[in-house]
């Protein structure tokens, strides 16, 4: 039974400082993930089982999951490096939770690949990795190594996270029950990551046209790598070519809100 709603319960009544302290806290993260991950040790309820799967379909799913692993491994390495570059403690605490999320995503995707019949998922990921996504990973880590917070935050938490969020959501709608439940849990995490990236950059860039121009250049360099990589995933998922642009719209909306249009 839900308790009656009162005006005083509204989250919208918090002042901005209280709101940020709440949503960036470890406790918020812990209570949130407990809601959708409890009793799902590898991202899905243990009583779910695989039905029959066509061998071609299975092979395509393995390739798709291998590329998800490339993206998640990149995000794991980059977000842990970003903790050192973060501009304040709120951001450091938040990034610590993101590191855990990314590690979990990598783990559940590797497990799923193994369940689909691959004995050595790590090697399989290397074999099936999309070259564009690997190049994106190298450039993202280079931005982190150079200490470029804004560019790395953009590349990881806006570009990569938006594209992953869109593709994972689309994939979840058509996936087998186990992959679907794993993806739904990952999407729930991605909301926090992409929101953090856009809001952090939005605050920092709102009065900084030079910063916007610089990130627009970073964007035009890195966009094709991720967009190209996801084209391959779309093919494997059987998405019609004419529907591909629609899938980039979520990301393009974010770019426009941030003033990073070319």
């Amino acid at each position: 039974m839900t308790e009656p709603t009162t005006w005083a319960q509204e989250p919208h009544l918090l002042n901005e400082g209280e709101f940020l302290r709440e949503v960036h806290s470890f406790n918020f993260w812990f209570e949130a993930v407990s809601g959708y991950l409890e009793e799902r040790p590898f991202g899905y309820a243990p009583d779910l089982t695989d039905g029959p799967m066509d061998p071609v379909q299975r092979d395509r799913l393995i390739t798709t999951l291998c590329n998800y692993c490339v993206g998640e491994a990149a995000a794991l390495e980059a977000s842990s490096g970003l903790i050192r570059l973060a501009p304040n403690h709120h951001s450091r605490v938040f990034l610590a939770t993101q590191v855990v999320d990314e590690a979990r995503h990598l783990e559940v995707f590797l497990r799923r690949i193994e369940e689909l019949g691959i004995n050595d998922p790590e090697t399989e990921v290397r074999i099936r990795a999309n070259a564009g996504l690997e190049e994106f990973r190298r450039r993202l880590l280079d931005l982190v190594d150079r200490g470029d917070w804004d560019a790395a935050d953009f590349a990881q938490n806006v570009l990569l996270e938006s594209m992953e969020d869109t593709v994972f959501r689309f994939h979840a709608d058509t996936a087998d029950p186990i992959t679907k439940e794993i993806l739904n849990g990952v999407v729930a995490d991605e909301r926090r990551h992409l929101g953090f990236g856009e809001n952090d950059l939005g605050r920092r860039l709102s009065n900084d046209p030079d910063g916007q121009r610089r990130l627009s250049a970073v964007r035009s360099e890195m966009d094709p790598l991720v967009l190209g990589a996801f084209e391959g995933v779309y093919r494997d998922l059987g998405i019609r070519r004419e529907d591909h642009p629609k899938l980039g719209r979520h990301y393009l909306d974010a770019v426009e809100r941030l003033g990073l249009t070319r």
């Binding site: 839900t2 009656p4 709603t5 009162t6 005006w7 005083a8 319960q9 509204e10 989250p11 919208h12 009544l13 918090l14 901005e16 709101f19 940020l20 709440e22 949503v23 960036h24 406790n27 918020f28 209570e31 949130a32 809601g35 959708y36 969020d165 729930a188 909301r191 926090r192 992409l194 929101g195 953090f196 856009e198 809001n199 939005g202 605050r203 860039l205 709102s206 979520h250 909306d253 974010a254 809100r257």
Partner: protein, 102 residues
């Protein structure tokens, strides 16, 4: 959602003594925030899922953000699932949407 139904309208008047309709919020199965905040959010079930007067969509993460009272232009709302701060705006066609405030 049926929050716009007459049953959902429990009284007039919000917390700041205006004449807004108020709504009883039920849990929607949304689990991505701590328990005390869950009834203020829900997942939108596609384009045919009509929004009630106390609901707007977060432009960043697409979750529906709900309130105890109907929204009016200028209201501040928070999207906890993606940590965005938003303001309710009225579009040319009279619909209410939320814009991100950085």
């Amino acid at each position: 959602m049926n929050d716009a139904s007459e049953e959902a309208v429990v009284q007039r008047g919000g917390g700041d003594n205006d004449d807004r309709r108020t709504y009883e919020l039920e849990e929607t199965g949304f689990l991505e925030v701590p328990k005390r905040w869950r009834k203020f959010y829900r997942v939108r079930q596609g384009p045919d899922d009509e929004l009630a007067p106390n609901e707007v969509v977060c432009p960043v993460c697409k979750v529906v953000i709900r309130s105890y009272r109907e929204y009016r232009p200028g209201d501040r709302v928070y999207c906890m699932p993606c940590m965005s701060r938003l303001v309710v705006v009225e579009r040319d066609d009279g619909t209410l949407e939320a814009d991100v405030v950085y």
